[in-house]
Symmetry: C2
Subunit: 339 residues, 2 copies
């Protein structure tokens, strides 16, 4: 691939018969260029298909903006991350900003690596769904002037904005809903408690049970479920056990899917109630439809991007945490009564 030279301001200037500074003025819409010259310059720009070199520009400008941001999410292929990414893109593009994206896979090492990488590349801002439980490594970037906003989970050991779902409240609502239908033996199935959201949803689960006057039975609590297969296994075990739950609360997408699979295999999908945290495509088309505590990833992305751009624009107020409400979506599985 021969990286042919693209035309520069000097080429345009030569063709238009002006100094290259005049070209700079025209290209940047600076005042003080006669219309005739400006027109000559513009037609030369057109003829040569000239485009300013953003790298050279950033080197010289005082604001040092690159008009790029980086999006560090759990996995761009999962629906939650993907919806969030799309919302961010929709905020960035109209502002002339382009978006790098990267997947962290819950790996703190990848988090550090990408933060370093994009810091070196001088992105204006970083939108991060924290993978590790310590974000202090970002302090250097923040000091160097990179705006940082966390999404989905708050940062730890770092004072920045974050935008997260009402995890405790949402989970409590889910449990209240099950309790209202008469359930008292509700299993909790969740991801690793080292993950902030998993912990909070568990907290909401306990609160919800307590509010209903039901005890927390530790034999009905399973953590560390990472894949649908894990969840499938856990549900199978629980329901084959001595005193099985009458309802399941699954604290994450993948876990919900695994639970549905297990219920289906055991023929219990119309018997054991199920409420999942986080919505997923086609949840309404299963039978029964899966009742969920839905998050709003698009709203999270939109709000976080807005916050990020106002920080980039100079807003230096104290860091805030914005909570995005969840919604209970009744579809059938969460309305099954206990036997």
């Amino acid at each position: 691939m021969d990286r042919a030279r693209r035309p520069t301001m000097r080429d345009v200037a030569a063709r238009a018969g002006v100094s290259f500074k005049t070209v700079s003025r025209v290209v940047n819409d600076e005042p003080g260029v006669s219309p005739q010259l400006a027109a000559r310059v513009r037609s030369a720009v057109e003829a040569l298909d000239y485009r300013p070199h953003p790298g050279a520009r950033v080197l010289r400008r005082t604001d040092r903006r690159t008009a790029t941001i980086a999006l560090l999410l759990e996995d761009v292929a999962n629906p939650f991350s993907a919806a969030l990414a799309r919302a961010v893109e929709d905020e960035a593009v109209p502002r002339g900003v382009v978006v790098f994206s990267a997947s962290l896979d819950e790996d703190p090492g990848r988090e550090r690596g990408f933060v370093r990488e994009f810091g070196a590349r001088h992105v204006d801002g970083l939108l991060l769904a924290p993978a590790g439980d310590d974000q202090s490594h970002l302090a250097a970037e923040v000091r160097a002037g990179t705006a940082v906003v966390c999404v989905d989970r708050p940062a730890r050991n770092l004072d920045v904005d974050s935008v997260v779902s009402t995890n405790v409240l949402g989970a409590r609502d889910g449990l209240r809903h099950l309790a209202a239908a008469g359930h008292r033996r509700v299993a909790f199935l969740g991801d690793r408690p080292s993950i902030d959201t998993a912990r909070r949803r568990f907290e909401g689960y306990r609160d919800g049970l307590a509010a209903a006057g039901a005890p927390v039975d530790p034999r009905l609590v399973v953590h560390d479920l990472r894949t649908p297969a894990d969840a499938d296994g856990a549900v199978t075990a629980l329901l084959s056990g001595p005193r099985p739950p009458t309802a399941l609360f699954t604290a994450q997408n993948m876990v919900t899917v695994g639970a549905v699979r297990a219920l289906r295999r055991m023929g219990l999908e119309h018997v054991v109630a199920l409420v999942g945290f986080d919505d997923f495509p086609l949840a309404d088309l299963l039978s029964p439809g899966v009742t969920v505590v839905a998050q709003d990833p698009a709203a999270i992305g939109r709000i976080a991007a807005g916050l990020l751009f106002s920080r980039i624009a100079g807003d230096a107020g104290p860091p805030r945490t914005r909570l995005v409400p969840t919604t209970l979506v009744r579809r059938g599985s969460g309305e099954l009564p206990p036997p």
Copy 2:
């Protein structure tokens, strides 16, 4: 946000007591630096948390590489694009390359805009799922040395590599499968025929019917379906009509989902057979499971990224089109017999 100055080579040089060219040598692993000096430089780099400025570097280097690529897909939020994006990321990251991504929304104007934008930003390569039916506007970028590989659909009026599914063959397989179960009245439901893949899948549909000795009934062919709601409406109309089809072939994801919804509402999901083109999450959990002609977006992404990087590395052979095979996945809906 005060864009504080990051340390430069001069700062490192001053701290290490060497000329800044020596720092450059150490940072770039160039030979000809005494181990003692190199060590001093490295500790200064560490102390100041110095990172080379990629923008400044690209300005001076002869190869002019930015170690960035751009990924222009239909919509980063749809599962096909998202899986493809993830596969590309996995090829790029180990090579030290970062990825811009953008959604085209089937809008040729957006395609042109983003191509221009990323061309100006001097990405090394462009991975494009064409939105418009004319990619000649990319010729200028290709001439300027940007590598281009198309995915999902081939480029038109532009001679570059592309990586696509076996659309005709896959659709034909789907129809052969339905015909083998005895269906002769199979409806086609597809997206706008201006989209290359929609056209090819329709071609496979006709081929498949012809191979089975069944006629193509134009009353059973519906194009221009863009949303699940469109598809739902079309299926409802078809099945309420005088001589309804006994099976449906849905040529796209969204269309398949809309069709499932319609069948469900009419209570016909176990009566009318259905084969969809392109797999989707949870297709196996519906009842009946949805039989699909599955694409392999991860393979498409992996192969396309490999091709792109070999082009960036200098491969100047003639453009090739790589076909990625589809797989028929039997799940129940496609195995229903005609009444």
